[in-house]
């Protein structure tokens, strides 16, 4: 039992590093909850990739999916910005800072503005 538990600890400790991703830092699936402080949280899932020139993105893949309209990454300060329009025709603007670049589960911390209302959002890479 003790050996099995030790092995599990070993696997858990290795799991993060085994999945590391070292290329374009926005590539992948990101998840977080946006809300005003103390308000109801709303899940958002974002998939981003680089096609060589442009950052492509999808918000909430599925029936309500919408695409990025514009997206940028400033490598001087790792600020991320993208815009879109929700299915309800509400403009979306996200601005945040990419942090902990060396980690697989890096984060983008910023503001999710929808229909003119600013919300807090921390996206974590899955």
């Amino acid at each position: 039992m003790k050996a099995a538990l030790s092995f599990l600890v070993l696997l858990i400790s290795l799991s993060g590093s085994l999945q590391a991703q070292e290329g374009f830092p926005l590539d992948g699936t990101w998840r977080g909850f946006w809300s005003v402080p103390g308000g109801e949280e709303t899940l958002v899932v974002i998939v981003m990739d680089l096609d060589g020139e442009n950052i492509n993105g999808r918000i909430n893949p599925g029936r309500n999916m919408v695409f990025f309209e514009e997206a940028s990454l400033d490598p001087e300060n790792w600020m991320v910005r993208f815009t879109s329009t929700s299915k309800a025709d509400e403009p979306i603007v996200f601005e945040g800072m990419l942090e902990n670049l060396g980690a697989y589960d890096r984060t983008i911390t910023g503001t999710w503005t929808i229909a003119g209302v600013e919300n807090q959002l921390v996206l974590t890479r899955e």
Binding site: L10, E22, L101, G102
Partner: protein, 278 residues
């Protein structure tokens, strides 16, 4: 090797001068120097049919090591860095390769934090050209019966890489699942082994120093054993998502007498947890 040659040549000149001073010599210094230098450069070994042999000849031991460079750096560029690829001056980062802005930013980030995020720290193997400037050395085994070449690496995870020599092409990166060592296809151009590789994942660093790449990476490598003790290596890097244009790096490696040391990567922290040795 060049130092060895110079040393032998200087020694021969000293002997010649000593003999000459005794009035016994009838040979010029140029003749002595030339003959000794020619003897010190061993010819490229070959199979019976003339094909270059990249590994040991029967009865000897040895492997390739002592790389002339310790990181990918574009040919013609002079930038100071240590054996881990850590730049002496981070302001020279943009000279190392034709980075796209995000790639230069990521390279500088990795440099600024002392390469702390290097995946080899977690026993993720170096791969691509990095194996050829990483510690540990390597061998190139030509399996002529099956039209394959194997590269056996002493560094990193002590892994091996397969190069198919049967006429197939390197795949379209979009059509294959990316791997650490990619998919390699080789052919001969005279005495040079030319290897085209693609289908890499982006979970490793393909150079000391943390130069980024994406799964769009393709490589064209040229291996030339110009004499017994010298392997000339050149690699053309194409990754349109990371670099603004294809670029080339090259260095030489030397033949090292002896066997590759038996070392293995260990993730000490994880092992300490496993053994309870905290």
């Amino acid at each position: 090797m060049q130092l060895k040659q110079i040393s032998i040549t200087i020694s021969a000149l000293m002997i010649m001068l000593a003999v000459s001073s005794c009035g016994e010599s009838t040979t010029t210094s140029d003749e002595v120097s030339q003959s000794v230098t020619m003897e010190s450069v061993r010819e490229t070994p070959r199979f019976d049919d003339g094909m270059v042999r990249f590994d040991r000849v029967p009865g000897e031991v040895g492997y390739w090591g002592n790389p002339g460079k310790h990181s990918l750096i574009e040919n013609g560029v002079q930038v100071a860095m240590d054996e881990n690829g850590q730049l002496a001056d981070i302001n020279t980062a943009d000279q190392v390769a034709p980075f796209k802005p995000w790639a230069l930013g990521l390279y500088k980030y990795r440099q600024a934090n002392g390469l702390a995020d290097d995946p080899v720290n977690a026993c993720i193997s170096p791969a691509g050209p990095r194996h050829l400037h990483y510690e540990g050395g390597f061998r190139i085994i030509q399996d002529r019966n099956f039209d394959r070449v194997y590269m056996l690496f002493g560094g990193g995870n002590r892994g091996w890489r397969l190069i198919n020599m049967d006429g197939r092409q390197a795949p379209d990166p979009d059509e294959v699942a990316g791997t650490y060592y990619g998919h390699s296809a080789g052919h001969w151009e005279d005495d040079t082994l030319v290897v085209e590789s693609s289908g890499f994942n982006d979970r490793f660093w393909f150079s000391n120093g943390g130069l980024p790449h994406t799964p769009a990476l393709t490589l064209v490598e040229r291996f030339t054993r110009s004499n017994f003790d010298t392997l000339e290596y050149e690699v053309e890097i194409t990754d349109p998502q990371t670099y603004t244009r294809p670029w080339t790096a090259s260095w030489t490696l030397g033949w090292v007498d002896g066997e590759i040391k038996e070392t293995f990567c260990e993730q000490i922290e994880a092992i300490d947890q496993y053994t309870g040795n905290n």
